[in-house]
Symmetry: D2
Subunit: 276 residues, 4 copies
């Protein structure tokens, strides 16, 4: 099978006019175009929250664009989902041109309704081992990608609202978004930055109808990686001690659909037995 | 029509054994009793969030107990709802015996699943006009009633969980829960106290399966009182500038149903155009 | 020796004109009166922070009024200080008339410059053992007394500023001021309330030149009570693990003297080795 | 006069052994070396807070190393201070080698006791005008330099404490450290990141005796730039409406000298008449 990367409709993307123009022209062109299903773009899709978001939005009849950095990293999910409405892209969310490509792809499919930024970079090192390169890499991965996604979302969610359809930009936060713990200088600085970015965008974009939210996941998420690396602890933990990524997706779906008279900017999600 | 107050089954309440005992015996007595629909108790029901909560829980087939202080204050809602599953009580949530009576009534109807404390006391006075009496009254109304409700909820939600059914205690917060604004010494002190109480109860009761949440409503709610007193401002405001109480009820219903692996303790709700 | 209570100049207090009037007349009457040293009033004086504050203000040539509830509770400190400038009062800060008496006494001595509220009520109980009486008592002790002190300070610090002299109202906070821990429903609710009260007063009174601050002491203070009850733990702890009450007094003295162009509203104080 | 840059003792710096080694050897070598006055390093010195810090530490008999990016930018201050104990360096705090050079220079002068990071990058742009380059520049200037400074401070303040002498690392924060306002996506993200970094370092380094603090300056500081750009507003403002940078320096000096049993991690500073 061909690598996913090669399957991307690169050419059409490159020939797109500027995305905002493209979007508004398509949405105004005919009733046909406005009847296309809405599009959700998930930046940062592994086997946890990102994958659950894709499942959720597909189930709700959205076109779903999923971004992951690694080549082939979305193959398994593609096979599972087996849907024409699922559009995996292997792109690097730290690069402006890649983020633009992802948005352009999404805009080519229909009216962009939901954007989720779901990239963490959870590392723990004493400050003496937090090299400049590590500090910068963590920031680029978690925070710069969040900014690039937010800027593009501001441009493409805002201008041409299909009437009454929700338009949201949601960030996945973590414990470190709120607390600078010992050993988390790099990760906490990046995640606190994302939180503040989200707050700023919420205040700036809210009045024009774009709902920006920040979801603080305060607990270990039930992923393959967690089970492989913390298997013993997971075995001993009571049922419900790991955050089901599907529950996070449900919460984000709920936020996406809130009426504009009652938007949530921030909510936490935490297992019932988590210490906090 | 008779005032609702007279329709209350007062005598049975007084003859109830201690409520916890009553609850566990009834829930263990037979399959019949466990098949009774769950009960929601809403403390503080006016024509806004409280009324919407009652509608929501009725619609979801709960038995609903509504508490309001004033005699007859729930007549209009009763007529509107016109349901045997709606149980209005005119009781004073600042009094231990009244709160106990409300819980006993709820427990007599079936398994207690949802408790909401929805009492504010939004007053604004310079400190020089905030008399000891006012300060104390606001605290009793907003905070002491929250404690009484929380203590009873801890006793009655916790011990006998119908398997897999949600058990939640939700507090309605306000802007003043997070911020002590000028002129809000009494109100902000009370609401910040409630927020801290909710946090403490969340940490204490979470591990035993009781979900405690605090919902910060940061905006004016669309009630009769607001429209009567701020009519001009409401006229001029854009659509969606007032919080629809139904949207708050929907958010609380969402919280109530979160799986225990991903509970929210705090979320805000705010109109898209609200300054914050 | 006579109980302290009997030594209070009750009669003069009762015959005072309204305190604000009294204060402004005395301060404008003559150069003699304005040359009187400033007065500090400390509400809540045990052998810890309160006693250190008294020492500090005496050392800085203030007249010091110290309030403690228990009869004779200030005898030992009086003997230690052995100063005519120290004025111990056994009064109950939960009672309006007692707080007024304390302020009137302070105002009779000279221009009121510093007010500190230093009353905690640190108890820990599961919610099931937090009776209504306990919840209310903790609130009265920690929060209602804070309100009464704040209201009187607003009245008596504000109106007649001796030029360029600092006027401050400082609250002693605790870990529970910021966090509702499990088992701290009563204490945390009260202390969070005080924090919000302080914030509200800071915003209301700041523009008229009254500096309101909240000092969060996040650690065990080195008092006789702590050493008696946690002796073993204290023995094992490294030097500096207990907060020296003198260091808290120094911090409050620093706050008191901040120029009005750079006031601190909130600061934390914590031993270097404290987990947080 | 020669540009300051050329006056730097570059050669000695380059020939230094690794700085930690250099520091511990010098401090252990003789009683003579330990009697050298302590050194303060201020990263980010303009005509405001940074300059005031230099004055303060000189006045307290410290050797002071001042870092500013621009060539000649410290000439005026040098002339004013006219002291052999003042060591201006034109270095770029965003560059690892420059930060290391600054620390090496400081270490060559005596025991490093105080480090202050005082770099903001206050810009305001709508997200649509916040280009990737701007976002990154702001982050580098405010946050990456804060990390580089923090990492070096951790290495050089920690290992060889002159007994009982204070060792502190203090960050200057701003309103945006706590709040992501509309239009401040870049600045707020960077400053919130610094705040979280400071918190993380405080938790990591505190137990080894390095005091890390974060001072939130919530108001306009009285600098030449502010007076030139907001002259009209400054004229109309009441006395005390601008933060005197000397008052900030005093607060930081107070923090630097706190005993380790009562350290402040965060404090705000705000004019009495500031809205907040």
């Amino acid at each position: 099978m061909l690598p996913r990367r090669l399957l991307l409709p690169i050419a059409p993307l490159l020939s797109l006019p500027s995305s905002a123009a493209s979007f508004s022209s398509s949405s105004s062109s005919s009733s046909l175009s406005t009847s296309r299903p809405p599009v959700a773009l998930v930046v940062g899709v592994g086997d946890g929250i990102g994958a659950s978001l894709c499942r959720k939005y597909l189930q709700e009849s959205y076109q779903v664009v999923a971004v992951r950095r690694s080549e082939g990293g979305l193959d398994e999910l593609s096979e599972e989902l087996s849907s024409d409405a699922f559009h995996p892209l292997s792109l690097d969310a730290r690069k402006e041109e890649d983020v633009d490509a992802a948005f352009n792809h999404a805009l080519s499919l229909g009216p962009l309704s939901a954007v989720v930024h779901n990239i963490g970079a959870n590392i723990k090192f004493p400050i003496s081992e937090t090299t400049p390169r590590k500090f910068q890499k963590v920031w680029e991965l978690a925070a710069f990608s969040a900014y690039l996604t937010g800027r593009a979302a501001a441009a493409h969610l805002a201008p041409s609202p299909p009437p009454h359809s929700p338009r949201s930009l949601i960030y996945t936060g973590a414990t470190a978004s709120l607390r600078g713990g010992s050993g988390f200088a790099a990760f906490a600085a990046a995640k606190a930055g994302v939180r503040s970015l989200a707050q700023s965008l919420a205040r700036e974009l809210g009045p024009s109808g774009v709902h920006v939210a920040h979801v603080v996941v305060d607990g270990a998420v039930d992923t393959r990686w967690v089970r492989e690396n913390f298997g013993a602890a997971v075995e001993k933990a009571p049922e419900g001690a790991l955050v089901d990524p599907g529950a996070v997706a449900d919460a984000m779906w709920f936020l996406h659909n809130q009426p504009r008279c009652a938007w949530t900017h921030e909510m936490d999600l935490r297992p019932y037995c988590e210490k906090w």
